[in-house]
């Protein structure tokens, strides 16, 4: 009996809690943040959140008319949950913009929802399909997979002069689109990857795949997937006695990649739209501030979300209108030479909603990133 009463009380509390909704103030810009905070890709979600949070804090402290409120929802990299969370922040919290998701498939799954409710969605998911859905409400705030891999492939073949490049990718959407983009870029230059191997996302032992890389005689290894997996691949390749030039995309730009990989990732070449190594004082100040708050180096994802929140804030202050349409129109109105100036440089989106930045090519030397060229 007592047990039942407790259960009943528990349920009642749950229901009341869910009904309670914060009263909305007129000058609060509500922004939904949907991304993984648990599960395998939690660190990506963390970068997204940190970037948005840092900019929001700065703007709120600057004493302007508007305040930013972030409504953070965890999707555990589960696309159903991403969609549920999106519907929640849009219909219940009435956000005027949504950031996320981190995983491309989940960002893709969110596109029909943000289109239906006419709320702008900003994602750093790199999957090509995200901006090909005919939705004018989605913006990609990162460099899409094909341009990243093209830059990488061209740099490796033309600048570094390698011809035999092996590709090792995780068999999820991220790895598959990067690997395919890279293969196409090579084919355009009349080359074929020396080895083209995939690995299951949960895997931690890559000796089988590395054997194939070894027997292919490749001199360069492009590994794409989570930075933890790429760091492991680098370590195991070294253990295998493979002296390979490593290549990486923005997925490996996370500072943890260097920390986890240690000596094994020395000399790796990475492309990223943002690098803490840039001596530009504006960037250095940003890096210092971020380090002060979160005790690590910022990565591209942090910078992308930092600027995105800036764009949303600007849209509302400039137009004086607090609605999703105004934010979308503002973001869509950017033109080269007349865009938003953020930490990543100048922002403008193409017809499909893709942002594009020139990528830094950085090399890891002595545990630090050194810029090769931009």
């Amino acid at each position: 009996m007592k047990r039942n009463v407790i259960l009943l009380l528990g349920m009642v509390t749950l229901v009341t809690l869910s009904m309670m909704q914060a009263a909305a103030a007129l000058d609060v810009i509500k922004v939904g943040v949907v991304g993984p905070l648990t599960g395998q890709f939690a660190s990506g979600g963390q970068s997204q959140l940190y970037g948005a949070e840092m900019k929001a804090k700065e703007l709120n402290a600057s004493g302007g008319k508007y305040k930013i409120e972030l409504l953070v929802e965890d999707d555990a990299s589960n696309c159903d949950q991403s969609v549920n969370a999106t519907v929640k922040v849009i219909t219940q919290s009435k956000v005027v913009a949504v950031l996320g998701a981190v995983n491309s498939p989940c960002a893709l799954a969110m596109v029909p929802i943000t289109k239906r409710y006419k709320v702008p969605q900003f994602t750093f998911g790199v999957g090509t399909a995200i901006t090909k859905q005919g939705s004018e409400w989605v913006f990609r705030v990162a460099v899409a997979a094909p341009s990243q891999t093209r830059t990488l492939a061209e740099y490796a073949t033309k600048k570094l002069g390698h011809k035999k490049i092996a590709v090792l990718y995780s068999n999820d959407e991220y790895g598959a689109s990067m690997a395919e983009g890279f293969k196409k870029a090579l084919e355009n230059m009349g080359l074929q990857p020396a080895a083209y191997e995939s690995y299951p996302v949960e895997d931690k032992d890559f000796s089988g795949q590395l054997t194939k890389v070894k027997s292919s005689g490749a001199t360069v290894l492009y590994s794409t997937g989570s930075y933890a997996a790429s760091a492991l691949i680098a370590k195991q390749a070294k253990q295998f006695g493979l002296g390979l030039q490593l290549l990486g995309d923005t997925g490996n730009a996370h500072p943890k990649f260097i920390e986890l990989g240690g000596e094994a990732v020395e000399g790796a070449v990475i492309v990223e739209p943002f690098t803490p190594a840039d001596p530009d004082p504006k960037i250095q100040e940003f890096v210092k501030k971020f380090r002060g708050q979160y005790n690590r180096d910022p990565d591209g994802w942090v910078a992308e979300m930092y600027d995105t929140v800036g764009i949303i804030y600007d849209a509302v202050t400039n137009s004086g209108k607090m609605n999703p349409q105004a934010i979308r129109d503002h973001a869509a109105s950017f033109k080269p030479g007349n865009g938003y100036k953020g930490i990543l440089g100048e922002w403008y989106f193409d017809k499909e909603g893709n942002a594009n930045f020139s990528l830094y090519k950085v090399q890891i030397k002595g545990g630090k990133k050194v810029i090769l060229e931009r």
Binding site: E73, V83, P112, Q133, G208, Q209
Partner: protein, 639 residues
């Protein structure tokens, strides 16, 4: 491939295999002492890794000492876990499945706690020795690999000696063979069980310290070795020596398969080998071999029937009308978000009803239900996208396809108990891997997008509210159909098979035939649900049909109540709605969710349907007392 590479591969495989063996031994021991699959075993690995990390970075202990510290601490943790979380469930003689779900709750909660304490990002281990390589017959071998192999083999040897030479070990073995007889000879079952959990957890923790320097310490570390370690234990027939070899063989086969055959199909090969070993070469038997759902209070009690027959004639229609009102007005009252998660729950509920038929009614088991759900989703999506067939045609076809797939794999049902669990798990994983690798059909990891909304005539079920009615009506039809089925001769035969297969066979029921039919119908339900899901979310990819989803479905069945159709629906509502409504807890959400699952299992072993039956029982007791039927029997109502 040259010899050096081959040797390196084998050595790498042995190292990983050694870890599989250690973790797998934990599985084997708990399974033999309590017949429980301990899902929290993976989290012991994670815990060991982090404790080891703290011991290295804070106390600066040498690696060997770190290993011992992790063994002891996780061992103690295992004993405490048994004492305070699992023993209350064991003591109630709840079905094994309840225990299994409780360990799942522990695993969810522990992972969330680890995130709170140690963060989300993987942490590297400090270098263990200054010179990482040793030269063995001209091959550069990592010192770490030797450490792992050495410590791994030493622990296995120690364990073997413990079971062969010490009195405690021998009595443990006696109890695992026949605990009743062993008890007569003075073996204390409780101490034994506590000891088992201690040793298993310690083995997991030790394995954690061994692999963390290779793979980094992260909150998901245990998860990645869990399935393979279990497979290792199953291959070894859950014996001590068998599991040791099982793990080593698995590690080597896995690595060689990736190196020699195909990295894409590496896991397919591994699970295929596992399934064929289980099916063709030897069908291992565990001593007691009781069904995983045994002792579940499933059959609707007589009291509920009594309540039904004595309820006033106006009660049923009134309730019916109220329910219909609730059903119609619910989407109008609650917001879109609530309707959306309700829809998700209802859609999964349809699949769960199918699983209920398999698990609750037939006493079989499936850890691969999500694969059939996925087959349904892909069938319907592909048919409507490529051939533009209307939804009312693709949906039954999806159910049919899932049913046929179920029929093809039905021979696995010849496996029993835990082997059935691992067999279905392998089956589900193969299904998932095929979805990811058959790119010509499923577009692999990219998934299918732009799946059209269902349309009947000119009406498109695009809004969440419209879909609510589509999904609930389908659920109603499936529910009605299964209700009729389970109360028919066929359904009673199923219950007979579950309760006592031998007796059922003697009474002329073709047990295997019966199981197959139930399995096919259950898979068909999953396919139907999959079709509804695909057209609702309009984007599907293989990630939605992974092992985790299968486990979630089993949780729904158990939380709802085994063998109760309404329970299946309630279970799916709870498992979907609860985490959504706990969102305000942020980081603590999964800690609370996991703990709730554990307490459900401790306090409500019969599931939520049991809770609902109680008022009916109380009223029935009242009626009984008043009518003085069955004198002396009242008061014996269930707890």
């Amino acid at each position: 491939m040259d010899l050096v590479t081959f040797v390196q591969l084998v050595l790498g495989g042995l190292t990983v295999g050694c870890v599989y063996s250690l973790v797998g031994l934990g599985f084997a021991l708990t399974l033999r002492a309590t017949e429980l699959i301990n899902f929290a075993q993976g989290e012991m690995v994670m815990l060991g890794a982090f404790i080891g990390l703290s011991a290295i970075s804070v106390l600066h202990l040498p690696f060997f000492a770190v290993f011992v510290v992790a063994l002891i601490v996780t061992g103690l943790f295992g004993v405490l876990m048994e004492r305070f979380m699992l023993r209350p469930i064991l003591d109630r003689k709840a079905p094994l499945l309840n225990l299994l779900i409780a360990t799942l709750g522990i695993s969810i909660a522990l992972q969330a706690v680890a995130i709170i304490i140690w963060g989300r990002e993987p942490v590297p281990y400090p270098e263990i020795s200054s010179s990482p390589y040793v030269d063995v017959f001209g091959i550069a071998v990592q010192r770490l690999n030797l450490w792992i192999l050495g410590l791994g083999f030493a622990s296995m040897l120690g364990l073997h000696l413990f079971f062969q030479k010490t009195m405690t070990g021998i009595s443990w073995r006696a109890a695992s063979l026949d605990h009743a007889t062993a008890a007569l000879y003075g073996v204390n079952r409780r101490t034994n069980v506590a000891l088992t959990f201690g040793i298993s957890a310690a083995l997991g923790g030790g394995a954690g310290v061994l692999i963390a320097p290779l793979f980094f310490a992260s909150f998901g570390l245990g998860h990645s070795v869990l399935v393979k370690a279990f497979a290792a234990a199953a291959m070894g027939g859950f014996g001590v020596v068998g599991t040791m070899f099982g793990g080593l063989i698995l590690g080597v086969v896995e690595t060689l398969a990736a190196g020699l055959v195909s990295s894409t199909y590496k896991n397919v090969i591994m699970y295929g080998i596992l399934l064929s070993i289980l099916m063709f070469f030897f069908r291992p038997k565990i001593p007691a071999g009781r069904s995983i759902t045994e002792q579940s209070k499933v059959v609707v009690t007589k009291k509920v029937d009594l309540f039904k027959s004595f309820s006033a004639p106006w009660l049923k229609p009134t309730c019916g009308i109220l329910l219909i009102c609730l059903w119609v007005f619910l989407p109008l009252v609650c917001g879109t978000y609530t309707v959306r998660i309700l829809n998700m729950a209802v859609i999964l509920g349809i699949a769960v009803l199918g699983l209920q038929l398999i698990v609750g009614y037939t006493g079989q088991f499936s850890f691969g239900h999500a694969a059939f759900y996925g087959i349904g989703a892909y069938t319907s999506a592909l048919l409507s996208m490529h051939y533009h067939l209307p939804f009312y045609i693709t949906m039954p076809l999806a159910a049919g396809a899932a049913g046929v797939a179920g029929w093809i794999v039905a021979p696995t049902l010849r496996l029993r108990g835990h082997f059935l669990a691992i067999g279905t798990l392998a089956m589900g994983e193969i299904g998932f891997l095929l979805m990811i690798n058959w790119k010509w059909l499923t577009k692999g990891a990219y998934g299918l997008y732009g799946i059209p909304f269902p349309r009947i005539g000119n009406f498109e079920f695009a809004s969440d509210e419209a879909y609510y009615f589509l999904a609930t009506v389908t659920l109603g039809i499936v529910y009605f159909f299964l209700r009729r089925l389970t109360s028919s001769r066929f359904g009673r035969a199923l219950v007979a098979v579950r309760e006592n297969e031998l007796a059922a066979v003697v009474s002329g029921i073709r047990a295997f035939h019966q199981k197959t039919r139930a399995f096919v119908v259950g898979c068909g339900c999953a396919g139907l649900a999959g079709a509804l899901y695909a057209h609702y979310v309009s984007y599907i990819n293989p990630e939605s049909f992974k092992f985790g989803v299968s486990v979630e479905m089993v949780t729904m069945v158990v939380i709802g109540g085994l063998g109760s159709m309404p329970g299946g629906i309630v279970g799916s509502l709870v498992v979907i709605l609860l985490p959504e409504y706990l969102r305000f807890l942020a980081d603590y959400r999964l800690v609370v969710y996991g703990s709730l699952i554990i307490s459900f299992m401790i306090f409500l072993p019969g599931g939520l349907s049991d809770l609902a039956r109680r008022p009916a029982c109380w009223i029935a007791n009242g009626i009984e007392a008043r009518l003085r039927i069955c004198e002396g029997k009242h008061g014996s109502a269930q707890d």
